[in-house]
Point group: none
Chain length 399, copies 2
């Protein structure tokens, strides 16, 4: 019905492609036995691995396991260990297991359940020896599906198809520079075919994925290295990390290594920057905390912003951004502080201070730098871009 | 390769469903002639309308029109009017039309081009009289595809299938109750076929989608109403909103209506709750701000949490949650305050205070309620669930 964006297709494709398994078909179908059986029979004719997501829940419209069993003409057998795990899952929460959840412990004859540490629905692996097709059934919630894909499916595929060659990627993360500026300067590598260099869109930053195809990992890395060097040489001040690194992780690693600390003062970003920082485990070693000073009173009270600065220059101004950063640094007794104040929109803009205008400052006790940023886009885009930009500015300062 | 989210499937499905045309299959395939022909031959066997998006551009990897023509065994004929329009499009921009764009004016024999006021690629309609299937080919850019869907495809479908009626949905939002508990109590409505009731998963809350099929919108609403009433009666304390409403929007609407204000004090959620609140435009009318008191010093300094409470009970305790809420309420001079302190993990848990243990409190100046929550899951899940749970608790209090 179009109410949910098919994020599964993206996540599964990204993960498998990264490991060298090409995906040729995405198919989405509703909770209807006849149509599910139809798409299964189409899938097995054209693919030797079929990954099915969703429909492993406890309710009657969760049909995936039942349909695959029927398609393979196999029974569903109660897995006593999985049932025990489910019982413990509920007991652990001080509840009795609802009768409906029992069916989540059913396993297709000849298959095996895949553990789900993040929910009640185990996944399933089953091999159809008649058609030589491997089935993986994964739960629908992304926070359950993605870990299972990573921890169960990919290792298993690596064993099942050991000689598929490898596609190895290296993702270079840049911030503070736009896609067209990047693209114009590295045409020599973006037009090559092995390795390929593809820009990936990510809000507030830019990723360049270099992908090399080779018989083995080492040969692929030999192909990757000179292209990475080329990009790093061209964009030295913008390349802040690679692969799984994030602005928060690189900033956190540097601060932790130097035994230094950070605090933040947010207005327009409303806690987003703080939430990004604390989303990474271990952030408490360097992050002291933050103030979301949404109301002007809070800017004065918690951050020592002067009333005259607010009255004279307004909350969205260089003066207030600087006072917020200095105030947050002092109040939290931190080595560094970042502040953000701006007009996130969609309303509230004026001719002098349009939607998307953001002032960000970084204080370190001796100097305070302030940046005037102007973004175009939605409230969410403005908040994300401004938060990431200031993390990048801090990284530039402390790297 | 998973680099682009399939927003087309969503947009087309939403538009067609709203007009009473059920969509049974989504298929995505790359720019490969063989695979495109294969999916076309599957599609015509199961559907009487096939909508294809993308692949109408000027470059060599744009294959849609060519493949459909080949599939139907028809020629591509230059449409002189469309060619003229294309020439004018470029002339208007002071440019000469590149040779490559000529092919965008080709029309499948017996078909008709659909005008594209927003780009260079006209759409196509063609009827396959052998298989009795209607094809619509639409350009890929959403800002070209969606207007063409609305202005060309839907009116044409209305003429081709005049009596198809409407499908109308209503989404009921619940929080504080799990999927299996909900399902067990409303089997009478979840097993009915019109309206249908389907649970939708969403982190930290639960959605029930009621969908009625009827000849017109009013008749559909008459079918929906009793089912919605039944669900509301059964889960009165959990149903906080419908359709586009969110926990933040309903809490915000009530507080704004009463001219009351809110502040928050966060430890384990690290700014996430504040960021959720401020993500909604207009939150500044009731939201005063928050403190992310990650370090214990910040809990004392900004929120007046007693050192003895921290030493005696630890930061993750009922006592500290209560003092945080009361402190945040007072410091921001707000009518209500929410606090959250817990162990978000993945490390840092102990036997007495395991990962996922969260204390949340709500202070209103006269009483302070504290809730002991225990979650299982990733750091992200724990943070989202705890934040939403406390919004739901506040809603329960002020509704």
């Amino acid at each position: 019905m179009g109410q949910i964006l098919n994020r599964h297709a993206m996540d599964v494709s990204l993960a498998l492609t990264r490991h060298g398994f090409p995906i040729y078909h995405h198919t989405a179908v509703g909770d209807n036995e006849g149509r599910i059986l139809d798409v299964l029979s189409i899938a097995v004719k054209r693919s030797n691995v079929v990954i099915v997501t969703g429909g492993l829940g406890p309710t009657d419209d969760d049909l995936t396991k039942e349909c695959v069993a029927k398609f393979l003409d196999r029974r569903l057998i109660m897995d006593e260990v999985a049932l025990q795990t489910l019982n413990e899952y509920f007991a652990h929460r001080g509840r009795e297991m609802p009768e409906a959840n029992r069916k989540q412990a059913l396993c297709i004859e000849g298959g095996q359940l895949l553990p789900n540490p993040n929910g009640t629905a185990p996944g399933q692996y089953v091999y159809d020896d008649v058609r030589a097709v491997h089935f993986f059934l994964l739960p629908g919630p992304p926070l359950e599906m993605n870990p299972m894909l990573e921890n169960e499916v990919l290792p298993k595929l690596g064993i099942l198809f050991p000689h598929s060659g490898v596609l190895i990627s290296r993702v270079i993360h840049l911030c503070g520079i736009g896609e067209s500026d990047v693209d114009a300067k590295i045409k020599d590598v973006t037009t090559s075919s092995n390795p390929t260099v593809a820009p990936l869109a990510k809000e507030g930053e830019m990723l360049l994925r270099i992908t090399a195809s080779a018989p083995d990992a080492q040969a692929a890395r030999v192909l990757l290295a000179p292209v990475e060097d080329r990009i790093r040489a061209e964009f030295a001040s913008y390349v802040y990390g690679v692969d799984d690194e994030s602005l928060v992780s690189v900033v956190g690693d540097i601060l932790t290594g130097k035994n230094q600390s950070l605090s933040v003062a947010e207005s327009c970003t409303g806690g987003l920057l703080s939430s990004m920082i604390t989303a990474v485990p271990g952030s408490s070693t360097y992050y002291k905390g933050g103030v979301v000073a949404y109301h002007n009173d809070a800017k004065e009270k918690f951050l020592g912003v002067k009333r005259e600065s607010l009255e004279e220059h307004g909350a969205v101004s260089q003066e207030v951004a600087i006072e917020m950063a200095e105030g947050a640094r002092e109040a939290f007794a931190a080595d560094y502080a970042i502040s953000l104040t701006g007009v996130a929109g969609p309303t509230g803009g004026t001719e002098l201070k349009p939607v998307g205008l953001v002032y960000g400052a970084i204080a370190d006790g001796s100097t305070t730098e302030c940046f005037r940023l102007q973004y175009h886009g939605s409230r969410e885009q403005i908040r994300i871009r401004a938060s990431k930009h200031m993390l990048w500015r801090l990284w530039s300062r402390i790297r």
